[in-house]
Symmetry: C2
């Protein structure tokens, strides 16, 4: 038996937005047969109930800010595949958006370890489901962009994409600057904004406001600072007054 024939396979599995039953059937099946599961710290306990048999190891942060930690995760995945047949790396949301999966894939492929990706529900789509509002809408929005806010090397803000609906991930700390940028692109101050925290979990909260209100800092005190927050901006959110039913308790009292 050659050493390579004993190598296991690593599955990068999207955990989805938070709720345990918003993982895919394929992802849940893989958890049920995993020898070891490396999961983001933010993954809910209920999801780990899919893999009672597995060794469960909490690693890293969802937002992936710690490059040293990322290198350590990469190494642990390689080590695990040299000892176990089924290794699952469970990542919040979808692995292929804002997930740093490339670094893990590259490292595993360099070690001749087979990798398979199982997609997950990304936060923006879970938010749209909660809000009961499509991100695209005939005659209103035919494109949607998912973005993070980032600084250029001279610390100016890089431009945000021009899609009809824009969803900003990890935008809590930059909410005011993001609003100013979007207004600077020509979007009206009256444009509806939705902010959602801890999507699909018991701690889910949402806020309805306008782009002008966000620019004025109206959301600042609302954030709880612990949960991941998503900013959704676009005319689609003014589409159906029925939205207000969901948001009645969360509307700015201004």
């Amino acid at each position: 038996m050659t050493p390579s024939s004993t190598l296991g396979k690593v599955y990068l599995v999207g955990a989805g937005p938070g709720a345990a039953d918003l993982i895919t059937v394929r992802g849940a099946d893989l958890l049920a047969k995993a020898d070891v599961v490396f999961h983001d710290a933010l993954v809910e306990e209920a999801m780990l109930a899919y893999c009672p048999q597995a060794e469960k190891i909490a690693v890293g942060k969802r937002c992936g800010k710690h490059s040293t930690a990322q290198k350590f995760i990469n190494k642990r995945l390689v080590d695990a595949a040299q000892k176990h047949q089924v290794v699952v790396r469970l990542k919040g949301g979808d692995p292929m958006i804002f997930g740093r999966a490339d670094e893990e894939i590259t490292e595993l492929e360099e070690a001749s370890i087979e990798v398979e990706i199982v997609p997950g529900i990304t936060a923006a789509l879970a938010a749209a489901a909660t809000l009961k509002q499509s991100l695209t809408l005939r005659g209103v929005a035919r494109s949607v962009a998912f973005s993070t806010q980032a600084k250029a090397t001279d610390s100016t803000s890089l431009p945000l994409p021009t899609a009809d609906t824009v969803v900003i991930y990890m935008g809590r700390d930059e909410a005011i600057s993001i609003a100013h940028q979007l207004i600077g692109q020509g979007r009206p101050t009256t444009l509806p904004v939705r902010i959602i925290e801890a999507i699909s979990t018991k701690r889910e909260r949402s806020l309805a406001l306008t782009l002008g209100e966000m620019a004025a800092g109206c959301a600042t005190d609302w954030f709880d600072g612990q949960a991941p927050a998503l900013l959704l901006v676009g005319a689609v959110f003014g589409n159906r007054l029925e939205n207000s039913e969901i948001l009645a308790n969360s509307r700015l009292s201004a």
Copy 2:
């Protein structure tokens, strides 16, 4: 008992890209307890095995081009919720992107019927998983847009979004014009493009080419014309040579 207390609930459930086990656990659980399931014609047979007990009704097209059919679907959903407790509307991909869910939600809410949305894996994320390539990548792409190609009332093309990675849904028939538009926005002709058909199914095929090649019509003869196709454009697709392993058999021989 008032009439409204006998009304059922309608679940708009994302079926995901095609493969039966890429639906969410929540979606599969709802299928298993549904009285009636209205599904897109494109949903695979294997997925309907989740609901042997349900009345299964094929409706409409995934790309939603037929507005008369859409009105008929809306009406049938209302009728079904007046007779059954658990009604599932199973929609390809995610219901909230390019899915016309708003029309169904509006009609149901006007009839005082409760609606819940269960998100699904949208085709772009399933494509990224197949290609083993993140749609965002530190230092290369911090935004991704999903768009359709559309014409203005004067039949000029409406501008495509400016995100770093752009994924065009239902773009097969406009592939050449889309490539020209993206080049017109300043993107290089050498920019990598991936085209995927029938994502996550047995009929899945993919093609690797450049934006210039797509503009020159190199993809035209490749499309099979039956399966839905996705166009993915961006520097991320030139990221890892390992991609070529997957695409070795599908690379343009030019």
